[in-house]
Structure formats: structure tokens, C-alpha cells
């Protein structure tokens, strides 16, 4: 039986919650203030984007302070009557075990402003008379329906922010360590980047990719963006590349719920492998070029009506190219390299930029010119003449990593660096 990692690795103490330290401290101070009697602010409103630890924070705190957490999703209890039945009584009496009680109304966003009319006034009324702390949680505090909670005298409002990427990264590292998965830094970074600060989705993604594996590499995760979509895309691809009629090709793409730009990249990547007659290759690539032309025009003019032409050419246009081409054997579909090379070369580009800046300092050229017109020659020198490379390393003051990038290998780098120390 597998647990969801989001549950299994849920924070168990304050130290394990990532980010939002200030917010949590404020929340704790407020909860403790109840020990000295009922404070003026009887409810706290926690808000912030999904998956940043709002619910986790209150759960951990309640546990730490020995309080009983009575937790309900407000979206399950929309009507006035239900809320009153649940929260009203709970707010008046102590817990069964005699412990202090905290009431949590989570997912307040689910309350509908007009349909659930009466829900919010009921909640505010309950808060007015409550004898135990009430915690409200929602993503969008500034929504009109929550306007009555903006009264600072009655409600304490605490914002939760997205954790820093470095914090989220170390959180994932902790999890893979506990799960004994050997994950490389790049792969975790990719997951972090994709999650956009949503801890929950990052952990879900990590589990989807890493569970049951010994190793996790970048190649394993770059598919992530297309998870659940792979089969869909393969089917569409087959019909676009081998469809017999325009209708067939267009419908396949139409029925599949995939992003059009993404689908374009898949077709563009794979088409050349499936047309082996040169004249047909020309036509297929031209159809894609025209589709791309429309895509540019749409972006520029915001005339979305043109989308149908982009669609025509990238699907039917490609399919109708086929006359004689009959590729033999099974040709595997390939992941769009363009997307992969863009993301893998990001780190490389940063390194190259640093080198460019050092060349600029010495040679009176722009960073771009340094990269384009000088670096390639420096590279040739580094690959051939360690002595000269060592001299240039000092002259440019390149760092070790930069030398390795330029020389293109660890052994070569060692040889060069050894000559410097002499």
C-alpha cells in the first residue's frame, strides 16, 4: 500500500514547514493569546496560493499546543443551516477530552457569493460569539465575497507566500533521501521550477516520477510536462502523419485535448522521420513552416481567427503530403528536442555568459561578440595547447568550472590547471 507522499511527508513539526516563518510565528502568538482569555480578534484568516502550507501550519501548531482541531471544508458545508449546526455548537463547548479546541474552516473559496448567500454572514455571526479560536483559510482573500473579513479589529489576516525555490528544493531533497532515491540536482530543480512554488504539486510530481526508482535523472523528469498526455499525443501523431483524408488528420488533433503549440513541436520533431521521399519532405516541412507563419501572425495581431489556418497546415497540410513515402519498420516517436535543448542549455548559457563577460573585460568587445567571435577560437586553443590555455586562463582569470566548459573535459582541465600552479 502506497501512501501519497504529500501525506507521508507532511510536516510533523514547525521546523519541517518550509518558508513563511513570520506568518507562522504570528499565527502561533495569536493561538497562545487565547490562554489568557478571549482576544478581540476571535478569528484568523489565512490566505495565499495553493500548496504553500496554510493548512499544514495550523495542523502542526494545534498539535504542538495540545489543541483539538475540528476541521471542516467550508465548501462541504455551504448553507447557513449546516454551518450553524457544525460550527455553532462546536464553538460553544470545549472538546470531549477536555482539550482546547480550534475550529478550522478550510477552502473558503468554495463558498459561492450569491448561491450560498447567508453563509458568510452566518460565519461572521458565529465568530462574534465564539469561545474558541476559528481559523479560516482561502486562496483569494481579496475576493469581494470576503469583504466583511477585512475588518482588522475582528479578524487577524495572515498572508502565506510561496516558498523560495531553494527552500522547496531542499524539501524535495529531504524526501528523496528518506525514500532512498538517488536524484540528481537538475531533475529536482526541474520539478521545483514547474511547481511554481506549489509544494503539494511538487511533491506529487516527485512521487509520480521517483517512486520505486533507485535513480532519478533529468531525462526521467523532462517528460513530466507531458505526463498523462503521452498516449494521447502518440495517437494524434500517427493520425496526422499517416491520415488519408484532411478530415481524419484534423479530427484526430481536434479531439485530443493537447496544447496546439506543443502538438506543433511534436509534429515538427517527428515528421522528417516519416517522409522518406525528398519532394514529400519538402512539402511537409513547408506545411509546417506555413503553420508557423500563421502562429507568428496570430501572436502579432492577436487575431485568433487565424488559428484555424495554423491548425489546417500543421495537421491536414502535413498528412496530405504523403504520396509514395512508406517508411519501413517501426519508427519510434521522439520527444521534441527543441524543448529539451532549450531547457538543458539554460545552465550552459549562464556559464557561457560568465565567460563572455571575462572576455569582454579584456578584449573591448560586447558579451555577445565575445561569445560568438572570440570564445570559439579560445576553445580550439584550450583543446590543443595546454600551455597556452594555462596562460590564457590566468590572463582572463577563468575559474575552474569555466576552464572545464571551454576545454570540454575533465582530463584536459586537470592538465591545464596543473600547468598554472607551477
Amino acid at each position: 500500500m502506497h501512501f501519497a507522499w504529500t501525506v507521508k511527508h507532511k510536516p510533523k513539526s514547525l521546523a519541517e514547514i518550509i518558508g513563511n516563518q513570520e506568518a507562522i510565528k504570528t499565527l502561533e502568538r495569536w493561538l497562545r493569546s487565547w490562554e489568557g482569555g478571549i482576544p478581540q480578534q476571535r478569528a484568523v484568516f489565512l490566505h495565499g496560493p495553493p500548496g504553500v502550507g496554510k493548512t499544514s501550519a495550523i495542523e502542526v501548531l494545534a498539535n504542538d499546543l495540545g489543541m483539538e482541531l475540528v476541521e471542516k471544508n467550508a465548501s462541504d458545508y455551504r448553507t447557513e443551516e449546516k454551518i450553524r449546526r457544525f460550527a455553532g455548537s462546536a464553538s460553544q463547548y470545549g472538546g470531549f477530552s477536555g482539550r482546547k479546541r480550534v475550529i478550522l474552516l478550510d477552502e473558503m473559496d468554495g463558498i459561492h457569493g450569491t448561491v450560498d448567500r447567508g453563509a458568510i454572514p452566518t460565519i461572521t455571526k458565529i465568530i462574534k460569539n465564539t469561545r474558541c479560536p476559528i481559523v479560516l483559510i482561502a486562496n483569494d482573500f481579496w475576493n469581494k465575497k470576503f469583504v466583511s473579513f477585512r475588518d482588522k479589529k475582528r479578524y487577524l489576516v495572515i498572508e502565506f507566500k510561496k516558498p523560495r525555490t531553494s527552500e522547496l528544493l531542499s524539501h524535495l531533497k529531504r524526501i528523496v533521501a528518506r525514500e532512498s532515491v538517488d536524484a540528481d540536482e537538475e531533475s529536482l530543480k526541474f520539478i521545483v521550477q514547474r511547481s511554481e512554488g506549489d509544494v503539494r504539486s511538487a511533491v506529487n510530481d516527485l512521487q509520480a516520477l521517483a517512486q520505486g526508482k533507485m535513480k532519478l535523472t533529468y531525462d526521467d523528469v523532462s517528460w513530466l510536462a507531458y505526463r498523462d498526455r503521452k498516449d494521447v499525443i502518440f495517437t494524434v501523431l500517427r493520425q496526422v502523419l499517416y491520415g488519408k483524408t484532411c478530415r481524419e488528420a484534423k479530427q484526430a488533433a481536434n479531439n485530443a485535448d493537447v496544447n496546439l503549440d506543443m502538438l506543433f513541436e511534436w509534429i515538427y520533431e517527428n515528421a522528417p522521420y516519416h517522409f522518406n521521399v525528398p519532394s514529400e519532405l519538402v512539402d511537409a516541412m513547408e506545411a509546417l513552416a506555413i503553420a508557423n507563419l500563421y502562429s507568428g501572425r496570430i501572436r502579432r495581431t492577436r487575431n485568433w481567427k487565424l488559428l484555424r489556418y495554423m491548425f489546417d497546415h500543421m495537421t491536414a497540410g502535413v498528412a496530405m503530403t504523403r504520396e509514395k513515402s512508406k517508411p519501413s519498420g517501426w519508427i519510434p516517436f521522439r520527444f521534441p528536442q527543441k524543448i529539451r535543448s532549450l531547457s538543458t542549455s539554460r545552465a550552459e548559457r549562464a556559464k557561457k555568459r560568465g565567460i563572455g563577460q571575462k572576455i569582454k573585460r579584456r578584449m573591448h568587445v560586447s558579451v555577445a561578440t565575445a561569445q560568438k567571435d572570440v570564445l570559439p577560437y579560445v576553445k580550439v586553443i584550450f583543446e590543443n595547447d595546454s600551455q597556452m590555455a594555462a596562460g590564457l586562463t590566468e590572463w582572463f582569470s577563468f575559474g575552474e568550472e569555466e576552464v572545464e566548459y571551454i576545454a570540454g573535459g575533465k582530463r584536459r582541465t586537470k592538465a591545464i590547471l596543473k600547468l598554472i600552479t607551477k
Partner: protein, 322 residues
């Protein structure tokens, strides 16, 4: 051999040392002599001595302490309007101590500045003329706005003629004690066409192989050092290997950051050099022109150029009698 970039080591230190651009150098020398210069635009292709001339002029004016009176900015790296507003203004308005009452600001690759930044620059130039003179360096003076052009003395640099490039390279070769063969010189001129920075870099890279520099070494080095090696791109496509050609193209664009417009320009040049039937050249040129036009329209470089590669595949196939 010494261990720095030869292009720097052998960069002339004063106008008197410059071998090329005779007329320009003469006029600049007369500025130095009269201890006064106007705002200038140095325009011309890369590697023809624009930056060198500006640095030499500054050194001739101020002597060895020229760095104290000089600021070098590269518009490609700092092209925003804020740079003009802040950095340039701060430098330009403060008077310098010394017998020459103005400083010099060298603005390299000025044609990469936005129009807004140029407008701001124009006002700064006007306001602080007394305390600062500007030397704008550009590949194309046409990309500099009219009002700035009209405030500057224009100097047009051109590619070095063969003799002068050879002279220079021989000087470097003997200074570095390397053997530079005649066919090596030919090859360098063939690929660098008067771009002296490229020529010296090629020579140094070729020398790193530790053998006498001949044409074979030059071509192999330049081929490796030139990410926009359209020759091998065209060859790969015409041999029928579309996927490999597209991979090369992708590397040029993504890894080396070569602009699609540069690639298409070079393909166009190369197309008329390679050994294919004449009518095929003109037919392919139609496709090249169309792709160039589409790139101007903002279409994706790789996708459009790939369509061109497919045409080259077909051309190669027809040549083989397909």
C-alpha cells in the same frame, strides 16, 4: 609564444602604429595634435580597427593616464535607456582635471541602442559637449538616428586590403616565433576577408596545434571555431541527411546563439559558391529569399530554415539523378 590573446597583445597603442585606414588615421592624428575632437561616429564592418582607433586616439590625447579620462560602454550589453540616463550622464557631466577640458566616452555597438535610448543620448551629447566628447562605434551608421548623425563627424572604416592584413599577420607570426606558410595566409584571407580580429584569432588558434600554419590547419580550425559553419550545414543536407542537418542548425541557433538572419545571409552567399548547376542556384535562391522574408516577419528561425534544408535535401537528391 606568449600567453595572452594576440589580438590584444598586438593591438596598436597609438595612431602612429595603425597600419590600415590611412585617411582616417591621418585625420584623427590631426585631432590629437590640436588637442580637440568633435563627437565622432566610427562606422564599418567588424575587425577593421574602429575600437582600436578610438582607444589610440584617447591614448594619444591623454598619454598613459588615458583610462582616467575615458569610459567604454558597450551598447549591446547595456542598451537600455536607463544606462544613458544614469551612467552616461553621470560620467559626461563631471569636468575632468587636466589640460584637456573634456573626457571621452566610447559607445561601442551603438547601432544596438533602442531609438528611445538614442534620443536620450542626443540630449546628453548636446548638454555636456563641453565636458565630454562621444565616439559612437557601429557596424551600420544607418541605424543611428539622424539628429545624432548630424552632430558627429563620420568616419567610414572598410575591410583591410589583402596586403595590409598579410603584413599584420606576418608581424604577429614573427613576434610569436611561429611558421606561417603562404597558403596559410591565403586561407586566412579567404575566410576572414579583411576582418583582422578574426584573422588574428584564427592564426592563434591554428598555432595552438603546434605545427606550421598552412591552409589545411587554418580551414580545420576555422571550421571548428565557426559555429555558423553553413558550408557543412548545406553539405549535410545535400547528402540527404535532413535530421542531422536540422540538428546542426539547432545547435547554431540555440547553443551558439547565431541569429537566423546571419545564417540565411551566409547560406545565400555560400549557395552561389558551391558546385551545383547554375539553374539550381537560382531556384534555391527563391526559397532562400522567401525564408529571409518570413524571418523578417517574425516567424520561427528554426522551423523556417528547416523548410529550406528540406529543399536542399531535394536538390541533392535530384543531383544524384533521383
Amino acid at each position: 609564444m606568449s600567453f595572452e590573446m594576440w589580438a590584444e597583445k598586438y593591438r596598436p597603442k597609438s595612431l602612429a602604429q595603425m597600419v590600415d585606414q590611412k585617411q582616417i588615421v591621418e585625420r584623427l592624428a590631426s585631432f590629437a595634435k590640436s588637442r580637440n575632437i568633435p563627437h565622432c561616429i566610427f562606422a564599418g564592418p567588424p575587425g577593421t580597427g574602429k575600437t582600436t582607433a578610438a582607444l589610440c586616439l584617447a591614448r594619444d590625447l591623454y598619454g598613459d593616464v588615458f583610462r582616467e579620462h575615458l569610459m567604454e560602454l558597450n551598447a549591446s550589453d547595456e542598451r537600455g535607456i536607463n544606462v544613458v540616463r544614469e551612467t552616461v550622464k553621470t560620467f559626461a557631466r563631471v569636468r575632468t582635471l587636466g589640460e584637456i577640458p573634456f573626457k571621452i566616452l566610447i559607445l561601442d555597438e551603438a547601432d544596438n541602442m533602442t531609438r528611445d535610448a538614442q534620443q536620450a543620448l542626443r540630449r546628453t551629447m548636446e548638454r555636456y559637449t563641453r565636458t565630454c566628447r562621444f565616439i559612437l562605434i557601429a557596424n551600420y551608421s544607418g541605424k543611428i538616428i539622424e539628429p545624432i548623425q548630424s552632430r558627429c563627424a563620420p568616419f567610414r572604416f572598410s575591410y583591410l586590403p589583402r596586403q595590409e592584413q598579410d603584413l599584420y599577420l606576418k608581424r604577429v607570426a614573427s613576434g610569436e616565433n611561429i611558421t606561417l606558410q603562404e597558403d596559410g595566409l591565403n586561407a586566412i584571407f579567404d575566410v576572414c576577408e579583411g576582418d583582422l580580429r578574426k584573422a588574428i584569432n584564427s592564426l592563434q588558434a591554428a598555432a595552438s596545434l603546434g605545427k606550421p600554419v598552412d591552409s589545411e590547419i587554418v580551414y580545420s580550425v576555422v571550421g571548428r571555431a565557426n559555429p555558423a559553419d553553413v558550408h557543412s550545414l548545406i553539405k549535410t543536407a545535400m547528402e540527404g541527411n535532413f535530421v542531422e542537418a536540422r540538428k546542426k542548425l539547432r545547435e547554431m541557433i540555440i547553443k551558439y546563439g547565431v541569429a537566423g538572419s546571419d545564417i540565411i545571409k551566409q547560406i545565400h552567399t555560400e549557395l552561389f559558391r558551391i558546385d551545383i548547376p547554375e539553374n539550381m542556384k537560382t531556384k534555391l535562391a527563391i526559397v532562400v529569399g522567401e525564408v529571409d522574408f518570413r524571418l523578417g516577419e517574425g516567424a520561427d528561425e528554426e522551423v523556417q530554415l528547416s523548410a529550406l534544408l528540406a529543399n536542399l535535401v531535394e536538390a541533392g537528391y535530384q543531383l544524384k539523378g533521383g
